[in-house]
Symmetry: C2
Subunit: 313 residues, 2 copies
């Protein structure tokens, strides 16, 4: 069947038409996030993008029967209301209702973007063949999407799970949310970046400092991982600590929820086996029989959001 998926990001909106029998993307459109215009501006843009995606396929918005939206925020799944989204500066946005106006014959569903990405990996990527799975999306922040019993897990509150603010280290580093030692403050790429910048300042002889030309602003999370891979002592120490942080996160999720496979998404997952091998070893030592069968890199990259959104309804 033909499906329409939207991935709303902080700077752009992507739409795709998806054939769910072959799991094939037929058309993609990307537009910058509309400046001004508020909710209606965004909804109008999405209606227009649906028209643009559909036209070459001989379809009008009325022909779309399944429309899904992924959004970087907390979504009440049964009502399709976006409860909050820091980066979009909106609260209580009734996205499902807005979409039904533009796509009147459609079955509409809305979810958090990491949930959508997890669903995409389940249908078409790293999670194929697993009935339970957790995707951890590692970027400036930290997100997660969880599959249990072949379905997106909604939890007791019907908003899915929120990995970013579970406590891994009481009294640990301050998180943007106001608590200390949250998963986001210890496992995001920002943690690597912050540690790398400190190292560039504090250890001018380290490869991190030299490769950043002694300017901490030139440090990236990737640079830290690259230096660790090349054997720089300071970078290695930072990377080891990062692996330990991620192992705490994964073993906690293993004990509480028991997903059979864990996927890592975002730039950090490009570290590949260099990250995944020591991580698997540490999680195994920690979580034992609650250990996931496999930890892998996610496969679908930036397409995951739209594919998963399209598969929501």
């Amino acid at each position: 069947m033909l499906r329409l998926g939207f991935d709303i990001g902080g700077t752009s909106v992507r739409a795709c038409a998806l054939d769910d029998e072959r799991m094939e993307i037929l058309r993609v459109e990307t537009r910058p996030f509309p400046a001004g215009g508020g909710w209606d501006g965004l909804a109008n843009l999405m209606g227009e993008m649906g028209r643009l995606v559909g036209a070459p396929l001989g379809l009008t918005p009325k022909d779309f029967r399944l429309v899904g939206v992924g959004v970087p925020g907390t979504v009440k799944r049964d009502t399709g209301v976006l409860l909050s989204a820091c980066n979009l500066h909106v609260d209580m946005m009734p996205i499902a209702d807005m979409m039904r106006e533009r796509f009147p014959s459609a079955d509409v569903a809305v979810a958090n973007d990491a949930d959508a990405a997890a669903l995409a990996e389940y249908h078409a990527g790293a999670f194929r063949g697993y009935d339970s799975a957790l995707l951890i999306t590692i970027g400036t922040g930290l997100g997660g999407g969880l599959i249990v019993d072949d379905r997106l897990f909604l939890g007791g509150r019907k908003v899915g799970c929120e990995l970013g603010h579970i406590t891994l280290q009481q009294g640990g580093p301050m998180c943007a949310c106001g608590s200390r030692g949250c998963a986001e403050s210890l496992c995001s790429a920002s943690w690597l970046l912050r540690q790398g910048r400190h190292a560039a300042l504090g250890y001018p002889m380290s490869s991190i400092a030299t490769r950043a030309e002694n300017d901490p602003m030139n440090v990236t999370a990737k640079l830290v991982v690259d230096c660790a891979r090349e054997g720089d002592g300071i970078a290695r120490q930072i990377f080891d600590e990062y692996v330990e942080n991620l192992a705490s996160l994964i073993s906690t999720c293993g004990y509480l929820i028991g997903p059979r496979i864990i996927g890592l998404g975002g730039g950090v997952s490009n570290a590949g086996a260099f990250l995944i091998e020591p991580l698997t070893e540490r999680v195994r030592a920690r979580a034992r029989k609650y250990m996931p069968e496999k930890i892998v890199a996610a496969e679908l990259g930036e397409s995951a959001g739209t594919i998963g959104a399209a598969m929501l309804p």
Copy 2:
């Protein structure tokens, strides 16, 4: 309908006959855990207890159609195999099969005892009217049972959730499992006991020390809570830290799973409002919209295990 529930403990086995329409316990039998005799000795005892519970009701073991067993260990729910139980010193015990031999007409189900207790609170106790709930059983160790969508949550591995060994404080106190900073090492009654004993040694003028007659072996978790309630500075400090530890555990579960209500079981929950009020306040500050609607003391006490076991099938 008439149901039979067993609660296997480290020192005793309880059986009850339950009328599930009125949620009324009709008969209870308790026997010491059989010394020697292995699995068969235990299974024979349970068969015999079923006979004893049934006889005054005019029933033979063959008449029981629904038989459930709660056990202090990790249970694979779909097969009814006890995978491991530290306190019973057994591994891979096929409890469901053993029960089917003794109760040949019965639909048999086996679960972790904290899962069974959560199910009891859902049907007959503190969780009535909630479709999602988490029971935290606080004793020497720490256990948990989780209801999501009006059913026991089995998770990806079909063994339920294991609260005790999620990481709350990387690098924190050593846990019996070999990791550091596990929930069990920070939130069990043993934590209160340990801190209380240290205080009795280190602060001979504190009420903890004087009420324990300066013998750390006289300290109990309850004594620490009592001294905190009476305003002793050292006890208060320990109790505050304990509340913080529990708040980390509950907010982590809130973010990951979102249960609408949290119940505290075990002796510590007798502290009542003195514990629950500051705990609720801290969890609210931390977990915000992932905050459970309510934190309460569990209601069913030691009956929870057998009632919940009986409700499993």
